[in-house]
């Protein structure tokens, strides 16, 4: 019994829709984002497909971690979800509504429920504004509350993210440390009471102690406010800390997606294993890194991706079939999906597609 249904080519991603049920907060279907590159004089130089046919679901109260190297398309994916800019093809269904092609006015009201936190807080905060003004800005933009109500809301939010409203509220971003500034960015993202927060490398510019504080803050907010996160990071250990499910991206494609414990215990895609092997571990008693399986070579150009499986040029297990045929993302048991002709564990892979229907119950 093999795990490849003949129709997987075209319907592979559609099978994920079956697992979603109706309770998915966000459904991304066949999302494609392209950028046209211009040479001198505006001549079309080529088309860069930054995200290529990506589909996934995110449930209410769930955190989906997205990992991958620079250039894997993870940030572009998040920006396409929030329609900045809208994707070239595909659907982004948020609470049952397709956001692609939505008029600006309607999109503005959707963005109330969908906010973003960026990597560098100092670049995402206006240096001339006070902290209170920065956090109040979304309320003003949406015309919410009176002046006094807004002030009260800002106070309670600064308090929630661990800043002192009295002493920090009147300061400017440059007077804050990196961790404090990121807390301000989080407070600003929370002020409209969103349902989904898209975090793009939110802690990678912070020192390890501050990073741990901010990670704990994300956990606390998730538990207290029932938030969903799309959490983008290149650090796999960090993603494990915050996520319920993890998606691994490579050159614009999803390699593997599934529950966090399964993926870390038993990665199915060779790229996931390579990523896991490159994590440094401070504990000398832990299993020593197998340097042989550290990934070699460079990320191929996204302008001219390899034929077939995009990872094949760096994959230790690549065979002829990988060059000829792009592996579809196929659904396996336990809510896992993998896009590989030769997944690392045949045990998990051969459980096949039978268990799809049970996959959608990890939304707590």
């Amino acid at each position: 019994m093999t795990a490849t249904p003949p129709g997987a080519h075209t319907t592979g991603a559609d099978t994920t829709a079956g697992t979603a049920g109706s309770d998915a907060l966000l459904e991304v279907r066949h999302l494609v984002q392209e950028f046209v590159l211009r040479d001198y004089g505006g001549v079309k130089g080529g088309v860069l497909q930054a995200v290529s046919d990506v589909s996934f679901d995110l449930h209410a109260g769930e955190t989906l971690g997205i990992v991958g190297e620079t250039g894997s398309g993870k940030s572009t994916l998040a920006r396409s979800v929030i329609q900045a800019p809208p994707p070239k093809h595909g659907q982004v269904i948020f609470e049952g509504q397709d956001l692609v092609g939505l008029p600006n006015r309607a999109m503005k009201s959707v963005r109330r429920d969908m906010q973003m936190v960026f990597q560098d807080p100092f670049r995402s905060l206006d240096p001339k504004w006070t902290i209170s003004r920065i956090v109040a800005e979304p309320l003003i933009a949406y015309g919410i509350g009176s002046r006094a109500e807004r002030r009260e809301r800002v106070r309670s939010l600064l308090d929630l993210v661990g800043l002192d409203p009295a002493s920090h509220g009147g300061r400017h971003p440059r007077e804050l440390s990196g961790g404090q500034a990121q807390r301000v960015a989080i407070a600003r993202a929370l002020v409209l009471e969103p349902k989904l927060i898209l975090c793009d490398e939110p802690v990678s510019s912070l020192d390890v102690l501050v990073q741990a504080q901010v990670l704990n803050l994300f956990e606390k907010l998730r538990a207290e406010l029932g938030l969903s996160y799309l959490f983008i990071a290149h650090d796999l250990a960090l993603v494990k800390q915050v996520s319920d499910r993890v998606a691994v991206m490579y050159l614009g494609k999803l390699c593997e997606i599934g529950p966090v414990r399964d993926i870390y215990r038993e990665p199915l895609h060779p790229y996931t294993l390579a990523l896991l092997n490159s994590i440094p571990n401070p504990d000398p008693s832990a299993a020593k890194r197998d340097t042989g399986s550290v990934i070699s070579g460079e990320l191929p150009s996204p302008l001219d991706p390899p034929s077939g499986c995009r990872f094949r040029t760096r994959c230790p297990k690549a065979e002829e079939r990988c060059a000829a045929e792009a592996p579809p993302l196929r659904a396996l048991a336990d809510g896992r999906q993998v896009a590989c002709h030769f997944p690392l564990s045949q045990v998990a892979a051969s459980k096949a597609t039978a268990g799809q229907a049970t996959a959608g119950d990890d939304g707590g």
């Binding site: 190297e69 020192d207 102690l209 915050v242 390579a274 440094p280 401070p282 890194r289 550290v294 990934i295």
Partner: protein
Amino acid sequence: MAGSLGQRAGCPTATSAGASGAGGAGPGSRPGAALLDVSDLRVQFRSRGGVVNAVQGVSFTVEPGRTLAIIGESGSGKTVSAYAVLGLLPRTAQVSGSIRFDGIELVGRRERDLRDHRGRNAAMVFQNPERSLNPTMRIGTQITEAIRCHLPLGRAEAHERAVELLRMVRLPAPERRFYEYPHQLSGGMRQRVVIAIALACEPRLLIADEATTALDVTTQAQIMDLLLGLQQELGTALVMISHDLALAASYAEEVLVMYAGRVVERAAAGDLFGSVRMPYTRALLNAIPRVELEPHVLLPVIGGRPPDLSTIGPGCSFAPRCPDAQQDCRLQSPPLKQHEFGHWWACWHPCGKGDVQ
């Protein structure tokens, strides 16, 4: 005099210059001696806001062919210490104490002598390869510039040497890359070029200041393996400066933990994890997200921020944030002492055995 600094190991001139520079106590270049011996290094910056004590009495040694990691948060003084070793600090910095490279004292040297020391004896790889490379120059030109600045080679010989260096750092197609510009390379390849420039004159000490922080994990592993491979090949001493304790512990032989301008713990990398003594190091170790941990587990964190370096209190600088701090910690600063073989720490109330978690 300027020449003596640039001399190779074992030259009689180097030994005599070391003796005159260091007041007779110089170990010269006897086998087993430290290549770099920093003792009681202090660096002050004077500004309008007052005096900032960036480094307050740091001592360490590096032997040839060994790897030392200096770790700490932003502002802990790790980079300033490295800059002092290379003589890269601005004039506003007041450096005292002693930095001896192969027995020769560097503190108080003229800029001309230090320039000769840099590149030939010691070189540095910085965090951001984009900023270390000139975007308007071909990478080959940038490498040959470094070579010809320090070595008496002709144009053709320098070219040959540059291609050889690019091959050594495993840049694919080095003959072609020689004529390319930095923007044509990926981040990992640019860092390889920077490493090639640093190795151009076969320095005996290489300082890597957050050399892999801006890179992806996969590229980070590649670059670290490259650095350690080259180190074994060439016998270079390597000082890696990082905020990442996990990275340091898995690649270095010895780890030096800095906090607020002081060394607070120093141990062999293998020993540090199992028998951490300084509560600050323990806090750092605990704060690292690790793949062995279950998802959604809160990380043990400590509050507070590193102290202001313009005012030095009497006690341990970590005491205000330390969960184990007692009355005596606030009164007197603990000295850095070797309490166990090969394990130094500066703490009045060190953590017990296997106290991680």
